[in-house]
Symmetry: C2
Subunit: 322 residues, 2 copies
């Protein structure tokens, strides 16, 4: 066999390995749906059965003891937070941190009285754009400390399991049009729905060969005086690798590989907690006015992480340039 | 760029990824030597810090309470076991389960009185070949039940950590010439030295791109009447993939990739326990008459395992046919 022929055969074999891998990993490790736990596992069991193998689950009855479950209505939040200024992500289309017309666009971050934000969610006033309290810098502890007494500052059995406290506790409240585009985080994520529902679409990290990434210049939405949105170039920022694909309506002509990816879908209801493992791709929607709190525990950068990084590098190495 | 040129570039990029991976994994996860623990960790800590990240360690003071540590001399074993028949691996050169002249050769498995075996180890008689009690089918419980009272049937904190009992408890006793060739097992291995020393040479699974495998026909040593050894073809057996490389004296002309692999070496002494994680390549030597007991806990076939399988497949896919 000529050398170039042997090289061509080797590359085809590499492609076959990477294409077969997601199904092999799925068959060995993951089920077609996200399983439910009806009671709390011990910290050791939770680490061994879910965190270490990087498997999602929905835990029922984990936050029954939180006052928030009964107390947190929009009226109660209005009473407690009143006109205090909070950070709200505002976008024209509900997509904060997502690809729009060949840009990676971040939301306008508006500081506004919480009561004015609630007026919009409750449709007492209209305002151009989609509003979402979703700032992921531990905004529950930073901006809503008045609410901390109704939940917990960490999830004790998870802190014991992973041997550390969460890096961030985030508060989420927004309109039904607000969507979180497909992405992944380097956190072990416990996502607790207090009221309403969150709809997750998930891919395990092993689906990476089917998930497209592209590099986009970074921009931010700004609302002009007349209420129209403009996309403002963040000139100083580096380009951002992001996923251009909408998993609800994938463009399979442009991204044919994605046809082989099989998303898991789940709905997390009031009182339920999703364990969303680190590096899982997720796309999130919600019922209007859904209230949620999530805990981000930093992941371990261990052999499993190195393997993922290798998968990522190899996927890029064999990508056909279009 | 012409297509074949792009393909060549893609394959070179794949090769670079796989060559860089072992060092990247090592830097993130592993130290240059095997760390010591001076006391027992909790089951959760052990799972989180060692089993899940697939990191070896040597645990001191883990088996201080075993009567075996004080009782197990060769004289005591002779008294207890006497002339009871046991399985002994006999080879001409000390290598059981290893590549010899383009064969994968297994030892002659001889059933002999334990006292006759000890006569050889203690050099009271001479006999052609190298003798090693090393049968890995839970031979401690199966062939040496009289000794079980001096150790434990499992390692309780490990059984709690991994949520199961060991699949096998093995007893090891042999001559200094007996060597275990480089290989890996699908077990979490707790290796306890009772007397003497074991010398381990280790490679993490992430070194797979530098570890050569080849396919060999299977054979077994037989000792002829005159004491000479012959290699007998196991005609019915399938070919066996095995590592032809001797890490103590690597043939770098034949296996140039191995020059980039960096073995970890450690000596496990009497009273110490090595945690040898699943899929770690290991080569083992010992002091003459070393006595050891090890516990094999079946590994988890999870995402980390799938990633290893991918690494294995890719290493084969890009191997240059010689």
């Amino acid at each position: 066999m000529a050398e170039s022929e042997a090289e061509g055969e080797a590359l085809r074999a590499v492609r076959r390995c990477l294409e077969a891998f997601p199904a092999e990993a799925r068959e060995l490790s993951f089920t077609d749906s996200v399983p439910y736990l009806d009671s709390l596992p011990s910290p050791l069991e939770f680490y061994r059965e879910w965190v270490c193998p990087n498997k999602p689950c929905i835990i029922r009855n984990a936050v029954n003891h939180w006052p928030a479950l009964k107390k947190w209505t929009l009226a109660y939040l209005r009473e407690i937070m009143n006109s205090k200024l909070v950070s709200v992500a505002v976008t024209p289309n509900g997509y904060a941190d997502a690809v729009y017309q060949d840009w990676f666009v971040m939301p306008e971050e508006r500081h506004m009285p919480f009561s004015a934000f609630l007026d919009i969610v409750e449709k007492k006033v209209t305002s151009p754009g989609v509003f979402y309290v979703q700032k992921q810098c531990s905004n529950l502890t930073e901006e809503f400390p008045e609410l901390m007494g109704d939940v917990e500052s960490d999830i004790p059995w998870m802190s014991e399991a992973v041997g550390k406290k969460p890096d961030a506790v985030n508060f989420w409240l927004g309109e039904s049009a607000a969507v979180t585009s497909l992405h992944k985080d380097h956190y072990e994520n416990l996502y607790c729905v207090i009221s309403g529902e969150k709809h997750f679409l998930l891919h395990p990290p092993s689906d990476r060969p089917f998930i497209p990434y592209e590099l986009y210049p970074s921009a931010t939405y700004h609302i002009a005086e007349n209420g129209s949105f403009e996309v403002v170039d963040d000139k100083a920022a580096e380009k951002v690798p992001w996923i251009p694909l909408d998993p609800l309506n994938p463009d399979l002509e442009r991204f044919p590989e994605y046809a082989q990816a099989k998303p898991l879908r789940c709905t997390v209801k009031s009182g339920e907690m999703l364990y969303l493992p680190s590096l899982w791709f997720h796309h999130v929607q919600q019922s209007h006015g859904c209230i949620a709190v999530n805990y981000w525990y930093d992941m371990e950068y261990d052999l499993k992480y190195s393997y993922y990084q290798l998968l990522d590098s190899l996927t890029k190495a064999i990508a056909r340039k279009s």
